[in-house]
Symmetry: none
């Protein structure tokens, strides 16, 4: 049995690293705050007798030996980076629940057959460096390291430079650590479990997702003296596209979001010359996602027939990822053993587990969060929910380890 | 007859003060560049025997005596400050054409009945310190001096501090200089004259204009796991409003612009929680502008019935300013005398003349600029256009002076 209060204490203690006035966390990947929470994590793992290694992407691995040194380790973990105005649970819960599990096993002197490895993946959020889940992506062979090192933040600082700046470019070759399986605990970040009063989500897979950059090029001109008819207003066209993205997603039963948008020159009395924006499309069915993408391309082409030009660049795509049936059944058995009300569901958010699924049997566990709210400082879970998630994670690992 | 080459030489010489690589000017109000061009201006005026005074807002007045010391002076002039990426003609032309006129009169030893006063108004652009046309606004009693002194730039530097820093807080009480009339030459900043191949615009007045701030408050949430139906997406609603602003302006035959927009948290996979944006509405008829404002309020109220809340704040308004019929007829007669193709039109942009019109008979003269482009480093006029504008300005002053 895991210790719920101890887990909660860790959650609250680390929430202070990058803690915001509104009770959230701002801990962007490879920032100074990220360095501090990484140092904290390393110290805690080493205090439990684990050996901590860091790979070339800054992914951190804390290994607890098993009975059989021939067996590959079972991985648990998630990520410690957050959104610019993130909450206290997204990612962090999966790592700290893993720490709590190692501590529980250590306290009871229980040794699993497989070694266990607790992982902190680099830049899961994709908020500072796009795309998301970069560290696990290189680990799983989805991105090559050169691509990942070259990704830049808004100030032009590369992942490589940022890794060196905080001293977390490690010596281990990326992807060299092989897993027997991986289990990731995470908050749902959506409203389904709460609405149905379920404590545990047995995650069967992850939605397919595609990220696009759109540039709308019009022409700057004077807001007072340029007639409406001769304007080439980039923002008016961008606004039209935003409405289309919503319509496309709603019609397909998927999701469509413009989360990022910049206007140039962004002056009150100047007709906008350029707009740069993102589009995020998701669906549980890749064929539907293809249809959504085609509809987006069609709207871009249609809008581009006017006096403003548009470009669409796909910068990232992840297909629908179904999780491993054995791992999923271990999660289901664990939830049932504790008598937690549960349901099977798909993840709307991307997760490191979706990358790892390409190289190891993988599954995920969700717990509810208030009003499905995430990527928000008000993100909230109860101690009981966190504890149920951590217990299910421990039990799933033990069930899988015994098979 | 003014000397076109001499005027052009002055335009090119002063364009180097704050000149940019792309051929524009960056000469923000009360900056070091502004100080240098002011010093240049003072030296040139004094060399012509004018006495130069500076008022408490930094407005500069170069007086050339007339035959009748009892008469109030006829004012000409404009502004020497520019947008951050401004062109070589916006404002500057009106001041340097005035200088060329004084030089022409001096060379021909012609003395007008009224004294003439060439004015350089402080902070016309409103780019460094908002609102625009601040110096002429205090002169005309539209703003009080304490308000103007307290306006701050993005770095928190006040107008008062900036005036002292460049040594241009003068001793003359603001507004103490009375004008018999004022004529301002300016580029059109719109496409009408060029499209109709007219060399001179006889400006009958200035559009009414209102500036608003809009805040759209929704709720940040996860782009992957928040169902479309439960989102409170501030940007989707802002986009809807942008379309409405265009529709309102087009329907009313006015202008409507969203030039400034900021998204929070502006992250690719976060449903936007807050959008802050500007709305600029203009019309040649105040009743229509009232109707546009009411339509905007109605859209704000309608959109606010959904899951997102909106607020609208009017931060500045200027009514329609019709120019003085006698001054306008002097401009028309001057254009006709030279045989320049001309038309009457309203100004879409705000100008110092629109403030001065509250305290003296006033009119303006426009010349075309390429593609109506302004507030852009590519802003461009020909030597012939500048010369025609300066000649019309001189002739209008002489016609008015003789009446
Ligand atoms: N879990 C999570 O928020 N991942 C970020 C990637 C995504 O946008 O789904
Ligand atoms: N002439 C000019 O650009 N004035 C600035 C104020 C405005 O019209 O927006």
């Amino acid at each position: 049995k895991i210790d719920a209060d101890r887990l909660w204490g860790d959650l609250m203690e680390t929430a202070a690293i990058g803690g915001t006035a509104k009770g959230g966390i701002r801990r962007l990947a490879l920032s100074e705050e990220d360095r501090r929470v990484r140092d904290w994590f390393r110290t805690r793992c080493e205090a439990l007798g684990c050996s901590v290694t860091v790979d070339g992407m800054g992914n951190m691995f804390a290994v607890r030996p098993g009975q059989d040194p021939e067996l590959e380790p079972i991985a648990i973990g998630s990520h410690l980076d957050t959104q610019p105005t993130g909450g206290k649970f997204d990612g962090v819960l999966g790592v700290l629940a893993g720490l709590e599990i190692l501590r529980t096993l250590e306290a009871t002197e229980f040794r699993t057959r497989h070694p266990l490895v607790l992982v902190n993946w680099t830049n899961e959020e994709g908020a500072r460096f796009s795309p998301a889940m970069l560290g696990s992506g290189v680990h799983a062979g989805k991105f090559d390291a050169a691509y990942a090192y070259g990704r830049e933040d808004a100030d032009g600082i590369s992942v490589e430079t940022a890794l060196d700046a905080i001293g977390y470019r490690g010596g281990e070759p990326v992807g060299s650590m092989r897993f027997a399986a991986m289990f990731e605990l995470h908050i749902e970040q959506g409203p389904i479990l709460e609405d149905e009063e379920r404590l545990i989500g047995i995650v069967e897979g992850v939605q397919g997702m595609r990220w696009f950059d759109v540039v709308v090029e019009g022409r700057e001109s004077h807001a007072g003296s340029t007639p409406m008819e001769t304007r080439r207003d980039a923002l008016v066209v961008a606004a039209d596209l935003i409405g289309r993205v919503t319509a496309i997603a709603t019609a397909a039963g998927g999701k469509g979001t413009v989360g990022h948008l910049e206007v140039e020159p962004n002056s009150r009395n100047v007709v906008p010359g350029t707009v740069r924006m993102s589009v995020d499309l998701r669906h549980e069915d890749d064929a539907q996602l293809d249809a959504m993408t085609a509809a987006l391309e069609q709207q871009i082409a249609r809008l581009g027939e006017g006096p403003v030009s548009l470009s669409l660049t796909e910068i990232w795509r992840n297909p629908v990822v179904p999780f491993d049936a054995d791992c999923v059944s271990a999660v289901a058995a664990a939830a049932e053993a504790s008598g937690y009300p549960s349901r099977r569901l798909y993840s709307g958010a991307g997760h490191d587990a979706a990358n790892v699924a390409a190289v190891a049997p993988t599954a995920m566990i969700f717990i509810p969060c208030r009003e499905g709210l995430s990527h928000n400082e008000a993100e909230s879970c109860t101690l009981e929910e966190c504890a149920a998630g951590a217990q299910t994670l421990l039990d799933a690992v033990l069930i899988y380890d015994r098979r």
